[in-house]
């Protein structure tokens, strides 16, 4: 398992907001972390990235990346891990791109920060953009000139260029139109198949999780209540919370009866 989380607890002072007993992410697979707001999924994401302290939370437990323990690393060591080995994209892609810089300069800076030369970075960026089906000319534009879907794909391209092993995607398509979302999901599937990347997909949208993920973990009140193969968990849930959540999701198929 590429990423192994055991007994991970995230706390604000004495208040526990998340506890993950056992959770793992393997090579070339997309695992969904699904739950409503307040379920603790975002805090778990921050903890894995080693950024929980930035919001004032403390983390105990074990997060192993290819055997290396992340919780005992210094911030300096973590900075090397973040972006290069564990990449992350978030709900609002615009947040990752400063509006005063061209998209290209942000991409190149990210690549060079992790050790590439200017030439290597340019080459890697061009290759990565082709993989996400974006024209390289996009690098010359400013973030405001790109759509949400395009920006999200550029963020993914950075992860590809850095050859990240794991991509943490926190609600990456929630703010996107449904047709654009479908394209981004295609890109994520491509990452898994062609690059062998491990994707941790955090979302409140069970339908997207069902379509995209190989395995899924359902979070409620800071804990994982159920996890397993997506088709199994989402068609024959064993936990009542999962069943309740599934029953609440509206489905187009119901319209056939009208």
């Amino acid at each position: 398992m590429r990423l192994q989380v055991s007994e991970l607890t995230v706390r604000f002072g004495t208040r526990q907001v998340a506890h993950i007993g056992d959770f793992s992410l393997g090579e070339a697979e997309i695992v969904g972390l699904a739950g409503e707001s307040g379920s603790g999924k975002s805090m778990t994401t921050l903890a894995i990235l080693g950024l929980a302290h930035t919001v004032g939370a403390t983390v105990t437990g074990s997060i192993r990346l290819d055997g290396t323990e992340l919780t005992s690393m210094s911030q300096r060591e973590l900075r090397d891990v973040r972006g290069r080995r564990i990449a992350a994209i978030f709900q609002s892609p615009a947040m990752a791109f400063s509006p005063v810089f061209k998209v290209g300069s942000v991409v190149l800076r990210a690549l060079r920060l992790h050790g590439m030369t200017r030439a290597e970075a340019a080459e890697a960026a061009a290759r990565a953009l082709r993989q996400v089906l974006l024209p390289t000319g996009l690098l010359d534009r400013y973030p405001a000139q790109l759509s949400g879907g395009q920006l999200q794909r550029v963020a993914i391209a950075i992860a590809i260029a850095l050859r990240a092993e794991i991509l943490l995607a926190d609600e990456p398509t929630s703010a996107l139109d449904v047709t654009v979302q479908a394209e981004v999901l295609d890109v994520l599937r491509d990452l898994r198949d062609r690059q062998g990347m491990s994707v941790l997909f955090i979302s409140h949208d069970l339908a997207v999780v069902a379509e995209l993920c190989d395995r899924v973990a359902i979070m409620h009140d800071g804990r994982i209540v159920e996890q397993g193969p997506a088709t199994q968990v989402l068609s024959a849930p064993r936990h009542s919370y999962t069943a309740g959540l599934l029953a609440a999701v509206p489905s187009i198929r119901d319209s056939a009866h009208r």
Binding site: D205, V208, A248, P250, S251, R253
Partner: protein, 333 residues
């Protein structure tokens, strides 16, 4: 039978952007529902706001119960405002953070003198109960409520003036799955109980069947297809509807359609393509589509039942018949 809301050739321009380019729709009297479905830039939000006179239109006609809406003034305008209400998408900002919940509802009641002042508090409590919140909420501030609860207060406030038409602008987009299900259930009950007509604006096709009989699919300021929701989703007559339908994620694998990937990105709203606005991305595009703008026409007649606006299918596409024939639901065994 006069439709409750009759919109004809509505056009709205914001500077150089043609947000709406000749939209025509009808909404029947309650209980009924028409959904406006589309992605960003489709103009659906603009239709909703124009319908209740929250913004100025450039041209076209909006009739409410037969009366043109844009000419209303004074008392008639006030009565219209009470008859046609709106619930917004953002529960965080739809209530004044400085007013307690009860005060927000009383404000609406008193603005239209629905009840005498001394009974306003009581009526506010009744309205809260109707949306499933107990009296204790009257003294709370909005920030002390969850998103779903705030949305319910917003609904209660809109209902307080006894509207006949309720525009629902993405009423559940900002809510969690469970809160969404509860709000949809509430809206369904209210529709029946108060005989309301809903104009539902949403990008989420999945919530449409629960509240609406008909839907109009919008793309770049135009209606590209409209008809009864069930048939429209089973056998779309417009390539965009087909693509939209195929892109909606489904939990149940059996409900999924083969993905129709649209080429290119949606164009700039300030520079619409010539002919059909969809042709650059359309898998069915023909030479005719690049020069001639398709008009909304009846492709499947349907029946006209008394008190409704009919069950026919309208579509703005030169090749609608082929799309109907080619669709996943057509010719399937």
């Amino acid at each position: 039978m006069t439709p409750l809301l009759d919109i004809t050739e509505l056009a709205v321009r914001f500077g150089h952007v043609r947000a709406l380019d000749g939209v025509s729709l009808q909404l029947a009297g309650g209980p009924s529902g028409l959904a406006l479905v589309g992605e960003s830039g489709s103009g659906k939000t603009t239709v909703g706001r124009a319908a209740i006179r929250l913004l100025k239109i450039t041209s076209g006609q909006i009739r409410f119960e037969g009366t043109p809406v844009t000419a209303l003034r004074g008392r008639a305008l006030k009565e219209f405002r009470a008859a046609a209400q709106i619930v917004f998408q953002d529960p965080d900002n739809s209530l004044d953070p400085r007013l307690r919940v009860g005060a927000s509802i009383r404000e609406a009641l008193l603005a239209h003198q629905v009840v005498p002042r001394r009974l306003a508090g009581q009526r506010a409590g009744e309205l809260l109960a109707e949306v499933g919140l107990d009296g204790g909420f009257t003294s709370r501030y909005p920030h002390q409520l969850s998103g779903g609860q705030r949305q319910r207060v917003a609904i209660a406030r809109a209902l307080s003036v006894q509207p006949r038409l309720l525009v629902l602008d993405e009423p559940t987009s900002a809510l969690d799955v469970n809160a969404q299900a509860r709000i949809l259930g509430l809206l369904g009950r209210l529709r029946a109980g108060r005989s309301l007509s809903y104009l539902l604006i949403t990008h989420n096709l999945a919530i449409v069947p629960e509240l609406c009989e008909r839907t109009a699919v919008m793309y770049l300021g135009r209606v590209v297809e409209s008809g009864p929701i069930g048939a429209l989703l089973e056998r779309p007559a417009h390539p965009y509807t087909q693509a939209l339908r195929s892109a909606v994620p489904e939990i149940d694998a059996a409900g999924r359609r083969a993905r129709i990937t649209l080429s290119a990105e949606p164009p700039d709203a300030t520079r619409l393509p010539a002919g059909c606005a969809f042709h650059p991305r359309c898998p069915f595009a023909a030479p005719r589509c690049t020069t001639e703008t398709p008009l909304l026409r009846t492709v499947l007649p349907g029946t006209v039942l008394p008190g409704t606006v009919g069950t026919g299918r309208l579509v703005a596409c030169h090749r609608a018949e082929e799309v109907l024939g080619n669709g996943p639901g057509a010719g399937a065994g």
